[in-house]
């Protein structure tokens, strides 16, 4: 089984790559959104899943990537490639600049600090002239959903590949040690500050690139949509649902939850939200370690997996 696992991924990637040529435009558009949000989930996985620092503000990197690309293309008239790079640089700079002070905080304080950072950045953007203030920016138009789809797919593959590398590397072992017990990790020789900042920077990079691609695709951006706060929760939920700290968990969680949410959205307004809400509550209660762990756990202990989870953490 193990040997063939490595074949499964390229095959899946190839299958996904073919999708735009065999389905309708709506599906391609849904696909782009799903791929981008899966990238965000994977990026979050590095800082939240592996390192155990649950950021609730990764939207700040996404937003900076969005705006960086938009400003570069709409105001400086650069090419898309340069725009993406500019957006990525903004996102990474933010991670490096704020990472050090914020990563000193633990648990919920870190989560809230990131939330605050995202809100501040969003509010600041709304007041900056070059970013078009509240009105936003319009990028040059490029028709070609298929291209955006493939780009998004490449980005997701790159992000997943990076996570796969992290999972097997010394760097990854260090991140996991930090998550499990940061004091012990330090005493064992891990430069926790550097590792955490590095993890956040990786997350920022992919999030910013996702934002940049998204910006050029939808052509019009404004602070509310670029720094969309609901993205934060979605990427967190998707990763946790699929399996934090795993390679495929975030992708799985993102695809499954996007699909369901998409199906429900067409049924009745707001019901998708209700569904999300319930899923989260139930999932936290009975499958707190995500889908992948559920699959494995279910194989081992059947329905008792759920009951055990219900019992294990209660007062």
């Amino acid at each position: 089984m193990n040997r063939y696992r490595w074949l499964a991924l390229p095959i899946a990637a190839a299958a996904l790559a073919v999708v735009p040529w065999v389905t309708s435009d709506t599906i391609v558009q849904y696909g782009i959104n799903a791929l981008l949000v899966a990238t965000l989930a994977q990026a979050w996985n590095v800082i939240g899943g592996f390192s155990g620092y649950p950021s609730f503000g990764n939207s700040v990197f996404y937003g900076l990537g969005t705006y960086g690309t938009a400003i570069a293309m709409a105001q400086f008239h650069w090419s898309f490639g340069s725009g993406l790079v500019f957006g990525a640089v903004l996102g990474v700079a933010c991670a490096l600049l704020f990472g050090i002070p914020i990563l000193r905080l633990r648990g919920p304080y870190f989560a809230i600090a990131t939330l605050g950072l995202a809100a501040v950045m969003s509010a600041i953007t709304a007041t900056v002239e070059i970013a078009g203030k509240n009105i936003g920016l319009i990028l040059p138009l490029f028709r070609g959903d298929k291209l955006f789809y493939e780009l998004s797919l490449i980005l997701l593959v790159a992000a997943t590949g990076t996570v796969a590398w992290i999972a097997r590397s010394r760097f990854g072992a260090g991140l996991v040690a930090i998550r499990e017990d940061e004091d012990a990790a330090q005493v064992m020789g891990i430069n926790t500050t550097m590792y955490k900042v590095a993890a956040l920077t990786v997350a920022a990079l992919f999030s910013a690139l996702a934002g940049g691609i998204h910006a050029y695709w939808i052509t019009f951006i404004d602070p509310a949509s670029a720094f969309d706060p609901s993205l934060n929760v979605r990427m967190v939920i998707m990763t946790l649902f699929g399996g934090p700290g795993t390679v495929l968990g975030p992708v799985l969680g993102a695809f499954v939850l996007s699909a369901v949410s998409e199906v429900l959205a067409s049924q009745a307004t707001g019901v998708a939200s209700l569904f999300y809400g319930f899923v989260i509550v139930i999932a936290v209660l009975v499958m707190p370690k995500g889908l992948l762990d559920l699959v494995q756990g279910f194989r081992e202990t059947g329905w008792r997996y759920f009951v055990d989870n219900l019992r294990r953490y209660r007062i």
């Binding site: 649950p54 609730f56 905080l105 304080y109 809230i112 509010a123 007041t127 809400g277 936290v284």
Partner: protein, 286 residues
């Protein structure tokens, strides 16, 4: 100078209400170590409870407040018993997520039951005000401010002087030791969360009097409650009121001297700065 005085008073009055919002969140956070992302939704629900008590049953808002608070207490008690008590010993992230899920459900239900229309609680004295040396003090805002202070004072007294309050504080500091003293953690946790919900509900009711409520006011208010609770030191009621005052005055000043669009930058900027600048104190509480 008069304008400054007016803005200052506005800020203080608003700050009292903010402090009340922070109280419930800080209490639950400090004692149960639960960061309640549904706090804003509870505020919102409290607002609607008081609204319907007033419009359907004709009960004066300030008199109906205890009823609304009671209803919210029951809701909170049930939530803790049925759901939150199940995950208290899990990673804190799980409580963040669970409460987030609850928030989503509550907002949806509110949207369904109450519609998205703006509601405001308008008792006859709502528009009236008193003028003190040129500074206008609206009755409603002043009443809200007083109620906030009274509730904060009550919470402080309950925590310090009553048996239940001592049990709550003991549980906050050391669960195992508290158990040895005969404290029933499930009950204490449920009571604490219920109290937090009741305080949120009160804040919501008062908010409905001085402003408008929709199903969506929760998100921003949750975020502000974070700031206020952290500024105030979580489960220290007097500190939290202070935190509320700081935020209220800061926002009022920002609205006056800068653009109103800067209020968000102020509140969240303050949050980030406080978190970065005081990590040692906060880490002690984590």
């Amino acid at each position: 100078m008069q304008l400054f005085g007016q803005i200052l008073v506005n800020g203080i009055l608003l700050g009292g209400l903010y402090g009340l919002m922070g109280l419930g969140m800080g209490l639950v956070w400090g004692v149960l170590k639960i960061v309640n992302l549904a706090h804003g939704a509870l505020i919102m629900l409290g607002g609607y409870a008081l609204y319907y008590l007033y419009t359907k049953a004709g009960i004066d808002p300030f008199l109906g407040l205890p009823l609304a608070m009671l209803a919210m207490f029951v809701l909170g008690y049930l939530l803790q018993t049925a759901l939150l008590n199940l995950i208290v010993r899990a990673a804190q992230l799980n409580t963040l997520l669970l409460t987030f899920g609850l928030d989503v459900v509550f907002v949806y239900l509110a949207q369904l039951l109450f519609t998205a229309d703006f509601r405001t609680i308008n008792p006859p004295y709502a528009g009236k005000n008193v003028s003190i040396s040129g500074v206008v003090v609206p009755y409603a805002q002043f009443g809200a401010f007083l109620v906030a202070l009274v509730l904060a004072g009550l919470l402080f007294l309950v925590l310090e002087k009553t048996r239940t309050g001592r049990a709550i504080r003991a549980t906050a500091q050391n669960l195992t030791a508290a158990r040895l003293y005969g404290v029933n953690p499930k009950r204490i946790y449920a009571i604490t969360f219920g109290a937090g919900a009741a305080l949120a509900g009160a804040a919501g009711g008062l908010y409905g009097i001085v402003s408008q409520i929709t199903p969506y006011i929760g998100v921003t208010l949750t975020a502000k409650s974070f700031v206020i609770a952290i500024l105030g030191g979580l489960d220290k009621p007097l500190g939290v009121i202070g935190g509320g005052l700081i935020l209220g005055i800061a926002e009022a000043m920002a609205a006056l001297y800068l653009d109103p669009t800067y209020t968000d930058i102020i509140s969240f900027g303050l949050l980030v700065v406080v978190l970065i600048a005081r990590p040692a104190q906060l880490l002690g509480r984590a």
